[in-house]
């Protein structure tokens, strides 16, 4: 780890202004950042901790929308969203281990947009709205516009995620096949059924990061059953090839897990 200065603002406004400084970067739970810093692969003059900002930690459900503060931890979401949005709570409850869940945050996960992370699937699969706050105030970004490929997002320099709003579906489920070493998704599928249609978001599979499988969405919007996608060829969005799976295997899992998610959706 290289030397750095840590600041701990207590309001969003102070955090945003601290991030205006030279070579400043936000740090939330540190569950992605700390290991990278320890390996000397990440470095900044100043890290601005978001963990002391209480206005970023809230969780509320109203009018069919679950709103998570950007600083809400996975453990809190797993606990407090269980009644309002069980599939999302279950996604949060299966991230990493208890230590990771106690520190890691929604905002950190969505800001990082790891191609194998869980939250991007939950957000894209729910058609969530991401609130980004920066020196010019706050703006709302639709998940469809937000995720722009592996580790790439619509966030601007100096903006932080302060809120993520998830429309609550009629039924949803998250099916996660573990990568045996990291236990991140090897492939994972988030399926959500809304009154106006079904969304299917897939993570872990593509080199472009999280994506929607539109053929499956179309088929499932007509008939929300595993049989509806039986005839589809699996998606072919530049599947990842690595030690843990070939592109063919990942494409195959996309279909298997989508069917399973439909089966277990509640």
């Amino acid at each position: 780890m290289y030397d750095f200065t840590l600041t701990r603002p207590t309001t969003i406004a102070d955090a945003v202004s601290a991030l205006q400084g030279e070579d400043a970067q936000p740090i939330a739970g540190g569950q992605t950042l700390l290991p990278t810093m320890k390996a000397r692969l990440a470095q900044a003059e100043t890290f601005v901790s978001l963990t002391g900002i209480s206005e970023m930690r809230g969780i509320s459900a109203a009018d069919g929308v679950l709103t998570l503060g950007g600083g809400a931890t996975h453990a809190t979401v797993a606990r407090e969203a269980a009644a309002s949005y069980p599939a999302l709570a279950s996604l949060a409850g299966r991230i990493g281990d208890p230590a990771v869940r106690t520190r890691g945050t929604v905002g950190g996960s969505i800001a990082n947009n790891d191609p194998s992370a869980c939250y991007p699937a939950g957000a894209l699969g729910s058609g969530a709205t991401i609130t980004a706050t920066g020196p010019n105030g706050s703006r709302e970004i639709a998940a469809d516009d937000y995720f722009q490929g592996m580790f790439a997002t619509a966030l601007e320099e100096g903006e932080i995620i302060t809120k993520v709003a998830f429309p609550i579906p009629e039924k949803a489920a998250y099916e996660k096949m573990l990568q045996p070493a990291s236990r991140f998704p090897l492939v994972a599928v988030f399926v959500a059924k809304y009154a106006d249609g079904v969304r299917v978001a897939i993570t872990g599979a593509s080199t472009d990061g999280v994506f929607r499988w539109s053929e499956a969405e179309a088929a499932l919007s007509g008939d929300f059953s595993p049989a509806a996608i039986e005839g589809l060829t699996p998606p072919s969005n530049d599947m990842i090839s690595d030690l843990h799976g070939t592109p063919e295997y990942r494409a195959h899992l996309c279909k298997v897990l989508t069917a399973r998610a439909v089966r277990s959706a509640q």
Partner: protein, 789 residues
């Protein structure tokens, strides 16, 4: 009734209180006043020529005391290899130089290029990043067969090729084996890879070098399974320090699994630099460094053929193995694929003819050496896989085929140079079958099928050679060391004992089980016996802990030393009680004279030894302290039968282990709870190898599995509840405790059970999959099923 103390009792591990409450004293807990820290700059390419190293920027960085490169080690020896193998043509193996810091070339990712010693660890690391090496990348050789091809790039320019040795065993049998295979009624052939593993002990390696100007003495604190071996190798071959000026201390060691046997460059560096700089020098490995600098394990590519006659009797085994040595020869690397592997190919079976050829190969990868089981897991895996495959081809029951070929009479001289003293393979198989309800399997399989899953049962046997080893024999086989063990038993005046052993625990619970043995012999409380190990300054020269040798060899030395103590104590007692020494009995800590009511307590006699007012000084010396060295006259041969039951998800290829059973014969058992713990750990590592662990390189020699993000360690979650049994006991005939050793069995016996079970499951689903190379990840299982469609 289970015993509550002494030999056979499950005494609680006395060391656990400190381990579990964070009070252990590991090498990293040792900080010597005035210590500086070293960071190594390691190669990020697999193969390259060093055209220069610019250290000037680093030298000017804050806190830097000195930057070292290979040129600072002129006149210093390289790391030695402790075992020489002779090739079929009579030539000794090719033995490359192994410099402390890379000299002229880098040969694997992680090869140390330069070392910075600075006031703090962070300063050393900062400065190491400022070193600018000028390295011309060379083509790397990673695949063993490619490394042996004509014109392949050479890992070592001064060797004739990348072939370390070409070993044939038993060479005299080769023609007979070829003939038997040619004439067999049936031959089953299997080609397989025994996957490369990273040992991953919980405690990474650490070294602290210290030098005392006033006495001209060097001290090395290190994470070692065998401090005396390190002292001998480093003192005599690397740094030229005589043993009386060198002390090696290995305090609590947090796991080793073999990888902490070997002498490493960092140990020599810290000892050397401490003297050069007149400052203690410390190195603590990061986990990332461990992946690319701890010796790896396994990595064999093998073809095995099993020949059978028309009645399904095994008639011959022919085996061809390529064994990866990595870029340099680690301390005992050459012995692993040869004497620890070829000699075990008979397994539990009376196959009359066996021949194996092993080609050891240099590649641009981390050196490979012994890892839990070392050679014996590789032998067991190929043998037990090929037998299962033969049973399937012949349409016979795999258990019946094994039973039919079991060795049943002992001693049994195998055609591969070893003699099994005792065993009862039928006994452990019968125990195993009683544990697993094989009859109910068909019904369990039906239930799995009803849930869309495939269920499989894998059963196998194993044998290993432990209690390493008879020095004369291993000397003939190329060992450059003896393999005896030692113990000094010091009885204090008030009756307590300190036992100083040359063995060393890196998690095995010696402090508990060794104390049980000595306390039992005398009949005193275990708490009266203290076990001291790990420091060359206060223990007799011993060879350390590996090869399940500590109790069989180290414990035997302890028994011999304690016998001497008892004999002398009886003489003292006979004097005090005015009786003949032959009439003295020692039981429950009391000396009695046969046929009388005379009685003396243990403490009365020990006190007399040190306060010899009334003492036979003209016959015996005062004091009560004895040393014994024990050199075994044979290996020990633990053996057993294992079973694994799995469920495979045919949609994803994911394997779930539902049950794992182990019926072992370890001879006599001193502490059943510790034995169970050892088996559990071994099973976890065997399951890890079978399903999860894979140390993989890409074609350029970059380590793909260089962290836990990609190297899958087994977790509690991956384990079933284990069923273990060690009630089948045929005591070893040649050591005083009748013990055989249990440390490696689990890791040896379990991989074939898992793979046999998965193949059984896939076959039951109509997938004609004959073999899948470990680890059986979901992706690999799914691909194999699809390829076989």
């Amino acid at each position: 009734m289970p015993k509550d103390h002494g030999i056979g009792a499950s005494s609680k591990r006395r060391e656990d209180a400190r381990f579990l409450t964070g009070k252990g004293r590991y090498t990293d807990d040792i900080n010597v006043a005035g210590q500086a820290h070293v960071a190594f700059l390691r190669s990020d390419v697999a193969h390259g020529r060093i055209n220069g190293i610019d250290t000037s920027a680093a030298e000017g960085m804050p806190g830097v005391l000195r930057v070292f490169t290979a040129k600072d080690f002129e006149g210093v020896g390289g790391l030695p290899c402790g075992w020489q193998i002779t090739s079929i043509d009579g030539n000794p193996m090719q033995e490359p130089k192994h410099p402390i810091l890379a000299d002229g070339k880098v040969r694997h990712v992680g090869d140390p290029i330069a070392a910075v010693v600075a006031e703090t660890a962070a300063q050393a690391r900062d400065a190491a990043e400022a070193i600018v090496p000028d390295i011309e990348t060379l083509p790397a050789v990673i695949d063993m067969k490619a490394a042996l091809a004509e014109g392949a790039p050479k890992v070592h320019d001064d060797l004739t090729s990348n072939l370390c040795y070409d070993w044939g065993f038993v060479q005299e049998n080769k023609e007979a084996v070829d003939k038997a295979v040619a004439e067999a009624a049936h031959v089953t052939t299997l080609e397989l890879v025994n996957n490369r593993l990273v040992a991953n002990p919980m405690e990474p390696r650490v070294a602290v070098g210290d030098y005392a100007l006033h006495s001209d003495e060097s001290t090395l604190y290190t994470t070692s399974q065998n401090p005396h071996v390190i002292r001998l190798l480093m003192g005599a071959f690397v740094l030229g320090i005589p043993e009386h000026k060198l002390r090696v201390v290995a305090p609590d060691v947090g796991g080793g699994f073999g990888t902490k046997i070997f002498h490493y460059a960092e140990e020599a560096f810290c000892t050397f630099a401490a003297k050069e700089l007149q400052r203690p020098v410390k190195w603590t490995s990061t986990r990332s460094e461990a992946f690319m600098s701890d010796a790896h394990g396994r990595d064999h590519v093998t073809k095995i053929e099993l020949a059978l006659d028309a009645d399904n009797n095994f008639t011959a085994i022919r085996c061809q193995t390529y064994a990866n040595m990595g870029a340099y020869l680690s301390t005992f690397a050459p012995s692993v694929p040869t004497w620890l592997h070829g000699t075990l190919l008979a397994g539990n079976y009376k196959t009359p003819l066996i021949y194996t050829n092993v080609k050891a190969v240099f590649t641009n990868t981390v050196p490979v050496d012994a890892y839990r089981g070392a050679g014996r897991p590789e032998a067991t895996f190929q043998l037990e896989r090929v037998i299962d495959m033969a049973a399937r081809e012949l349409g016979v029951d795999p258990v019946a085929l094994r039973r039919q070929n079991f060795i049943t009479e002992f001693p049994y001289a195998t055609p591969v140079a070893v003699e099994y003293d005792t065993g009862d393979y039928e006994g452990t198989m019968t125990k195993l079958l009683a544990m697993i309800d094989r009859d109910g399997f068909a019904e369990r399989r039906r239930q799995s099928e009803a849930n869309g899953k495939l269920r499989g049962l894998g059963i196998n046997c194993y044998i290993e050679a432990c209690g390493i080893a008879p020095s004369q024999l291993v000397g003939q086989l190329g060992a450059r060391a003896g393999l005896y063990e030692s113990a000094t038993v010091r009885v204090n005046a008030t009756g307590g004992l300190v036992v100083m052993t040359g063995s060393h625990s890196h998690g095995q619970g010696h402090e508990t089980s060794f104390a049980q043995v000595v306390a039992d012999m005398i009949g005193i409380d275990e708490g009266q016996v203290e076990i001291v190990h790990g420091d060359t300054a206060n223990t007799p020269m011993g060879m350390g802990t590996y090869g399940s040798r500590s109790l069989a060899v180290g414990g035997s030395a302890m028994v011999r030393a304690t016998e001497k103590i008892i004999a002398k104590a009886k003489k003292i007692a006979s004097h005090l009680m005015e009786a003949s020494a032959d009439d003295i009995e020692l039981k429950d800590g009391k000396f009695t004279v046969a046929g009388t009511d005379k009685e003396l307590a243990w403490g009365d006699v020990t006190l007399a030894a040190y306060v010899p007012h009334n003492y036979p000084l003209d016959e015996i010396e005062p004091g009560l302290e004895e040393t014994a060295f024990y050199d075994p006259n044979n290996f020990t041969y633990p053996a057993g039968a294992y079973a694994c039951e799995v469920e495979v998800d045919p949609e994803t290829g994911k394997v779930d282990i539902l049950a794992m059973a182990a019926a072992d014969d370890f001879g006599n058992v001193v502490n059943p709870m510790i034995v169970e713990g050892q088996v559990h750990g071994g099973l976890a590592q065997g399951i890890g190898q079978a399903l999860l662990e894979n140390c993989a390189y890409d074609a350029d020699g970059q380590l793909l599995s260089a962290s836990y993000m990609d190297y899958a360690m087994p977790r509690a979650h991956d384990m079933p509840m284990f069923q273990v049994d060690h009630s089948s006991q045929t005591p070893c005939t040649h050591n005083p405790l009748g013990v055989k050793g249990c440390g490696e069995a689990g890791a040896i016996g379990s991989p074939p059970s898992v793979v046999n079970a998965v193949i059984d499951a896939l076959q039951s689903g109509g997938h004609d999959v004959r073999h899948i190379d470990m680890p059986l990840t979901p992706a690999r299982v799914w691909s194999a099923m699809n390829a076989a469609k």
